[in-house]
């Protein structure tokens, strides 16, 4: 990679990180482009060389962060020797919940912005070259030797929505209970959801 291209990537990443920091601390709508570029140390016009507007940046950021989230969970799963679908899903869920717990601004950002449509898009169409195509991971999870899944997409959909919506309240505000208290019930529900889809 040439010097110029490295420089460009640095600028873009700097804008992304500055924006993420501001979006999570004061919200997207209250964050101005002036603030983003100031925090990044680039000129205002430079912003428009990399992003169409604030919402373009946000969409790319969601996809980017969601991509990282699943990449980390999948990488951790690969180091374990788990083959049972229940244990696999719970492992991934637990890993992702831990990531959220350790990075509350990430949770704040993802929960408020990630819809199922955006999720599918971001996993299949990487936001940046360095992001990974997650279609394979998804296929591997639902195409199984040990059992046959009925409507696997509905299953994944329900699990993801349940996790992201309950974690938001539980991790960020301990409402109605903190995440450790919630986990047994949450994982119980997840196991029940999976059970519904095994033929």
């Amino acid at each position: 990679m040439g010097k110029l291209e490295t420089n460009k990537k640095q600028k873009r990443d700097s804008l992304l990180e500055s924006a993420f920091s501001l979006f999570t601390s004061k919200g997207i709508n209250k964050t101005s482009i002036s603030e983003i570029v100031e925090k990044s140390g680039v000129a205002k016009g430079t912003f428009y060389l990399y992003f169409k507007d604030k919402y373009d940046l946000r969409n790319r950021l969601i996809a980017h962060k969601a991509s990282q989230l699943f990449y980390n969970a999948d990488a951790a799963l690969a180091t374990e020797n788990i083959n049972d679908i229940y244990d696999e899903v719970i492992f991934l869920a637990d890993n992702i919940i831990d990531q959220f717990n350790n990075n509350k601004s990430l949770l704040l950002f993802i929960s408020k912005n990630l819809s199922w449509g955006v999720f599918k898009d971001s996993l299949i169409n990487p936001a940046f070259d360095e992001d990974i195509n997650f279609y394979d991971l998804y296929q591997k999870l639902i195409t199984r030797d040990d059992c046959t899944l009925k409507d696997p997409e509905i299953m994944v959909f329900m699990i993801i929505e349940l996790i992201s919506s309950t974690c938001y309240s539980s991790i960020l505000y301990s409402e109605p209970v903190d995440i450790e208290t919630l986990k047994p019930y949450l994982y119980g529900s997840i196991r029940n959801i999976i059970k519904q889809h095994i033929v």
Copy 2:
């Protein structure tokens, strides 16, 4: 109620309905107070006689609309002769989903804004005098003769989050499937969640 007070209530309600219409059609952030007052046919200064700012109006609106939602569901339940907790919850869920299905802008508005914290607040502290205190309904639901519930608040929490997050995608975008296809799985999951909490 005197003529003057009726007039005041009309103005306030007009502002609420205009705002709801604009919020759901173009989003809160893109809706200006100018537009709200213009649609309401009142002067700009009048807005500030009733609400502190746009977000004050929004919060009252969420509580108001959520209150109506549960009021309708509870009223419908009262006409039925159901005593089993599973059937009661499913009946309420189904009624609320139908209300969402018939009023997509309500769904759009509630889902994007209703968190567990706001939910509890809005049911217990009515936004307006005419709204009903739902604490009693809630107590009636979880304090039962026929069974004992363990951690009932967690149960209600999980059910509400699961419904509101899955309905958003399914009803508004038919993603990953339309609501009728989703219902059997959703209601199955709700029954399993309840089962976890019955001692």
Copy 3:
């Protein structure tokens, strides 16, 4: 007229005059709204209470200034005892040329912006309440007792275009000759144009 309305008219007129001054001294495109409001001593937002944008202001200004121009010429004609069409038209032309000669920024502004379409519009649809509808003047000029005119609109069109385009160069830059030198030829041409249209 109430105090408030007087105040509003003052603000609008102030903006018009400030804009006219700036438009004629440095051109419309190089004049910013910031400059106009600064010169007027009103706030930036106030501009948008009276005009849609800079070009809306310009169009109203053209119509307004053209209206004044013809109003003056017609008023002067009324004090004379002229009935011959040749003498009438030459009198009006001469009066208008004198106005241009005494107010070069008016000439600069009108010539660069007044097309036949705008002319007709501005005379028939006044820009402001106080402007006069000139349709009657126009009718009076072309509907005559003493002669019948063939295609009178073409005649007026050619005379106006000839005057406005030649005056621009002659009065402002004395190119190819100054206006006094040009006048005999110009009026000769105007008389010839009229002659063509008399049946």
Copy 4:
């Protein structure tokens, strides 16, 4: 001409043609240098190797296009056997009007920008090496064997201003009438203008 110089000329001509196309379709002020270079397929910095700024380009373009206009008309006249000054001028006028009629963006561009001062400059000082010095054509036209002209420059001035201002409205907007309807009157007026200058 070396290969390098040919390449340079191609770049410059490409910029000129792109600019002309953009100027006539969306106006000079709304056309940015970015758009010109993008349409030309050259880099932004390259623009400044050929022109000082947008207005430098425009001025050269006016002179260039006006030069072509008169060159074409004169070339056509040379193929005819006309010696009478009336017929010569009308022939040139008619040819130029036809060029305008067939190339409305040319008319739009020339009319809005061509003043008598620019006209004289552009005919006498060619914008580009390949443009022709029209001083000779002008001299040939006004220095005649068959008659003596009084103030020939005023004559040419009035004719050119009359044609360019009336054609603008008539050809582009058919206001007040289309060009074919206007022609008899226009040519009649031109003949009368000439007649005034013949001693």
